[in-house]
């Protein structure tokens, strides 16, 4: 029997049982729909995060103490000092360095009168604020290099911090309290989406020298951001920075670095890995529903085979071979699940599109719909495979029916 006729015969049989076919395949439709939805939202989230991260610019690299992103003791590591910054700033050491911005990040309590909040404190420099984070100020002004040199007790606060501490009152010129020290509010930042994964709105910025003096009480940094003079120079920058620091830290040949450098590529890779693992996990959970859908299909196919015993017997009496019958029922199951997969993709795409609209409205305006090509291929592929696997047993049963028994069946 030619494949075209196998398919036509299968389609006809499915058409005769339209309602049942539709209900049978519903499990597959929902499963594939969920896969598409999850993968689409996963891609959307990933894109959103990556857009924010790449806000830092591909030329930017980050230097941190410790020996890797997973080295949690690095939070307390004290390997980056002012001497390091001085060494890195020397042109003969790192010729491609366009900008260097040491910073400290910590979390602490901030209070104004009776209001107390816990927020992120960031000790930075003017270049860091203006150029790397590209921050805009709505009221007041930034601190200056003079403030940095003078370890001034001044801060610039994020929009959310201003709202939490001052409400609608004037903040500029007021003093907020951090660790028994009073800091004068110089400016308030414009509200804006995250940059580099940091919530700018929930931040208190101060000169890094002030943070070292009044908050940490040491002369270490926990982050130094640098910018290369071009994207192409990033690998050379990484190389030069590594060589310079190994020299100034007196690390011997063969020993590990006591610092690590993260390029934007690394950050993107990390985020992609995290989102992908998470998406894969969810997809795996959903895939179980496809198996359940497959069992449903097997169940209905078995009913169908037993109902159509007479038809099977007739076909065999008229010359159908075992494999003709096997192929017919297998094709029915596969077409059924394959169509279920296609419908699932359409429904999932529509649902993801709506979800993206809602998310853009409520969570993040930059949220964009994205169609998961891999999810679509996977959805149809898995559906067809489910049809093949769960259709096999009923089809085999059908093919083993004896024509006589089948014809007698009333």
């Amino acid at each position: 029997m030619k494949i075209t006729h196998v398919i036509l015969t299968a389609l006809r049989a499915l058409r005769l049982q339209r309602t049942r076919s539709a209900l049978t395949v519903l499990g597959i439709v929902i499963g594939v729909m969920a896969i598409i939805l999850i993968m689409s939202l996963g891609q959307g989230a990933q894109q959103l995060i990556l857009d924010q991260v790449s806000g830092l610019g591909a030329e930017t690299i980050t230097l941190r103490p410790g020996n890797g992103a997973t080295d949690f003791s690095a939070i307390f590591a004290q390997s980056l000092t002012r001497a390091d910054v001085a060494a890195l700033e020397r042109k003969q050491n790192v010729p491609n360095l366009a900008l260097i911005a040491p910073s400290l990040v910590m979390t602490d309590q901030v209070s104004y009168r009776d209001e107390v909040i816990r927020t992120m404190l960031w000790g930075g420099s003017v270049e860091f604020l203006a150029e790397i984070l590209d921050l805009k100020i709505t009221a007041g002004e930034f601190f200056t290099d003079i403030d940095i040199d003078g370890m001034a007790r001044v801060v610039v606060i994020g929009a959310q911090v201003k709202e939490d501490l001052f409400g609608s009152e004037q903040a500029i010129g007021e003093h907020i309290q951090i660790k028994d020290q009073r800091f004068r509010v110089l400016g308030v930042l414009a509200r804006r989406p995250n940059v580099g994964g940091f919530n700018i709105n929930d931040l208190v910025l101060m000169p890094y020298t002030s943070a070292q003096t009044y908050i940490t009480g040491s002369d270490y940094y926990n982050e130094i951001m640098m910018r290369a003079d071009s994207v192409e120079a990033v690998p050379k920058l990484v190389y030069d920075v590594t060589r310079t620091l190994r020299e100034s830290h007196d690390i011997r040949f063969g020993d590990d670095d006591d610092f690590y450098i993260q390029t934007q590529d690394d950050v993107i890779e990390n985020i992609e890995t995290i989102v992908n693992v998470f998406t894969a996990f969810l997809v795996a959970v959903v895939a179980i529903s496809l198996v359940v859908g497959g069992v449903g299909i097997m169940n209905i196919m078995l009913v169908s085979v037993s109902e159509r015993t007479k038809e099977i017997g007739l076909r065999k009496a008229l010359g159908a071979r075992r494999r003709d019958i096997l192929r017919q029922f297998l094709t029915e199951a596969t077409i059924l699940t394959g169509l279920g997969g296609v419908v699932g993709i359409l429904a999932g795409t529509a649902l993801s599109f709506i979800a993206a609209l809602i998310l853009a409205e409520t969570v993040a305006t930059e949220w964009a719909f994205s169609f998961p090509v891999l999810g679509a291929v996977l959805g149809v592929g898995v559906s067809v495979v489910v049809g093949l696997i769960f259709g096999l047993y009923p089809a085999y049963k059908a093919s083993r029916k004896s024509p006589i028994e089948a014809l007698r069946y009333e």
Binding site: L318, G319, A320
Partner: protein, 239 residues
């Protein structure tokens, strides 16, 4: 060489502990071009014999040769092919696919044949014309009368130009007039196209439309003789 050669054929059904002997040693042969009726009361084993002759089931003991080859010598695929290309079946209960048209039902054996698809349409139209149903070609068979259903089934049996047509109580579900039309069609096929026809029936009247009658009682051949006064069906249906 006979088309069918049967020697000491036995068939026993096993149902757990219970053995039921249905055919108890049959010996006969049928040549190509014969019109034979196998007759007997119900339970005489005539349907079982037809199933064995039609390669629809196997026998327990004895020998059965179709075209000089026994059932056991064929693979499953060969048996399917013989059923498809050399044998045509007409059943008492028609066994048509009710939701499909006359055309589709008649075409069914061709789907499983080696005949190229471009010849199918002409073949179907030719045999539907023989049974006089050209005006019903696009009707679903569920909507046809009993006589039309059986003629559709006869067309389906003919479509692949088989040597033999097996008819199992073909008039059993029909009134006498439509029964006559079916018998007239079978006689016509035998006379004009030289088909070998094996007719199963429990009615003497119907059996007498054949040239030869094998009379079965309780699994044995009681009589195997030519029909003395052959009946000729003249329903006036065929021109």
């Amino acid at each position: 060489m006979s088309l069918f050669a049967v020697h000491n054929l036995e068939k026993t059904f096993f149902d757990g502990e219970v053995e039921t002997a249905v055919l108890k040693g049959l010996t006969f042969s049928i040549d190509a071009g014969e019109f034979v009726s196998i007759m007997g009361p119900s339970g005489s084993g005539k349907s079982t014999l037809l199933h064995i002759l039609g390669f629809l089931s196997d026998h327990t003991r004895g020998e059965y040769y179709f075209n000089g080859k026994s059932f056991e010598e064929h693979t499953d695929d060969e048996i399917a092919e013989i059923r498809n290309s050399e044998m045509g079946f007409v059943f008492q209960s028609f066994n048509l696919l009710a939701r499909q048209t006359v055309f589709e039902n008649v075409q069914l054996p061709l789907l499983y044949s080696r005949r190229p698809a471009h010849e199918w349409k002409a073949r179907v139209e030719a045999v539907v014309d023989i049974v006089g149903l050209t005006h019903r070609l696009t009707y679903e068979t569920g909507k046809l009368s009993g006589g039309e259903k059986q003629r559709t089934a006869i067309a389906r049996a003919l479509v692949n130009e088989p040597q033999v047509i097996f008819a199992d109580e073909p008039t059993g579900n029909l009134d006498s007039k439509t029964g006559q039309i079916v018998m007239e069609t079978l006689q016509h096929l035998h006379r004009e196209y030289g088909h070998t026809i094996i007719l199963i029936t429990h009615e003497t009247f119907t059996a007498e439309h054949a040239d030869r009658m094998i009379y079965l009682v309780d699994g044995r051949i009681e009589r195997d003789s030519p029909v003395k006064k052959k009946r000729v069906a003249q329903a006036g249906f065929l021109k």
